[in-house]
């Protein structure tokens, strides 16, 4: 089913519920892993994912179709994840970067983390990046999202994204080889 067909069904009150079920099953995995990489802990990712789908359901009529459905949902997921981190960091009197570093440092004890030492080190390197570079690196390196689509999600030009990705990559390489 194409995005257009799905959107048509979502706009019809009779087919809306079943179409939304289909949308959830189509995008839950990608959105979950995207959110998980930002908020780190599974329970937080679960909360954020649910909020994301609620927001998608509530705002689907405002989606004009001038971008791809998945980039629009990624944008909601990104904003919702960052808002979540912001509220958490305020609650713990920390910066978002600081909070993410703490979460990454606790990964070894996380039952929902099965990575080895190298993967922990990579997460620590990512946690040291500025917030936007983190997002760009995660989206490109792990999710292999095209810079064109990323440009729609993050509202940044493709050139700037490519430059940021290269800088992020160099920083990570440096961290991985020097530590």
């Amino acid at each position: 089913m194409t995005d257009q067909e799905l959107l048509k069904q979502l706009s019809d009150p009779i087919t809306r519920h079943s179409a939304f079920g289909l949308l959830v099953s189509l995008y839950k995995q990608r959105l979950y892993w995207h959110i998980r990489k930002i908020v780190i802990a599974h329970s937080d990712a679960d909360d954020v994912l649910q909020n994301v789908f609620i927001k998608i359901y509530q705002n689907i009529e405002q989606f004009k179709g001038d971008s791809q459905l998945f980039t629009w949902m990624y944008k909601i997921a990104t904003n919702e994840s960052l808002s979540f981190l912001k509220s958490q960091s305020r609650r713990h009197f920390r910066t978002i970067d600081n909070l993410q570093s703490i979460l990454v440092n606790n990964l070894k004890a996380d039952v929902y983390f099965e990575g080895n030492d190298i993967q922990i080190k990579l997460q620590q390197a990512i946690a040291r990046l500025p917030q936007k570079q983190k997002l760009i690196f995660n989206m490109r390196y792990f999710d292999e999202i095209k810079f064109k689509d990323m440009s729609e999600i993050l509202g940044t030009s493709e050139g700037a994204l490519k430059a940021s990705y290269n800088i992020a990559m160099k920083k990570i390489e440096k961290y991985m080889t020097s530590n």
């Binding site: 959830v24 979950y32 990489k37 099965e114 080190k121 991985m176």
Partner: protein, 127 residues
């Protein structure tokens, strides 16, 4: 172990989800969300009705207690603190208020009053 480039690292974050979490996400999501929407609208209506009933009952109880208090206070005041006696009240209001207030048959009141006072049966029955 030292890494030369990140390309040597498998493109897996190391994160995992609980078993069955993603497979059952829709079921859990629907279960959690559906009652919420029904709850919020349905419960609001129920609580509104319950609240109005409680307020209304509270008002009625308060009014009933106030009336009872008034009656007791007035009766006490008239009998104990003034010169007006029960017979004068009978003269003014008749026997019905006494009957209502003390919940005794009118016949008993008449009998008591005629035997114990100067009031005659004619006077009482004319009230």
């Amino acid at each position: 172990m030292r890494m030369k480039t990140v390309n040597h690292i498998p493109k897996h974050t190391g994160f995992k989800s609980p078993p069955g979490y993603l497979e059952n996400f829709e079921v859990d999501f629907n279960r959690e969300m559906a009652p919420v929407s029904i709850k919020t609208s349905g419960q609001l209506a129920i609580w509104a009705v319950v609240a109005s009933i409680v307020v209304w009952l509270g008002f009625l109880t308060w009014q009933y207690q106030a009336n009872e208090l008034d009656q007791e206070e007035i009766a006490y005041y008239l009998l104990e603190e003034t010169d007006v006696d029960v017979f004068e009240l009978v003269e003014i209001y008749g026997l019905d208020p006494l009957h209502d207030f003390y919940d005794v048959p009118i016949q008993s009141i008449e009998t008591y009053l005629t035997e114990e006072t100067i009031y005659t049966t004619e006077f009482l029955t004319s009230q």
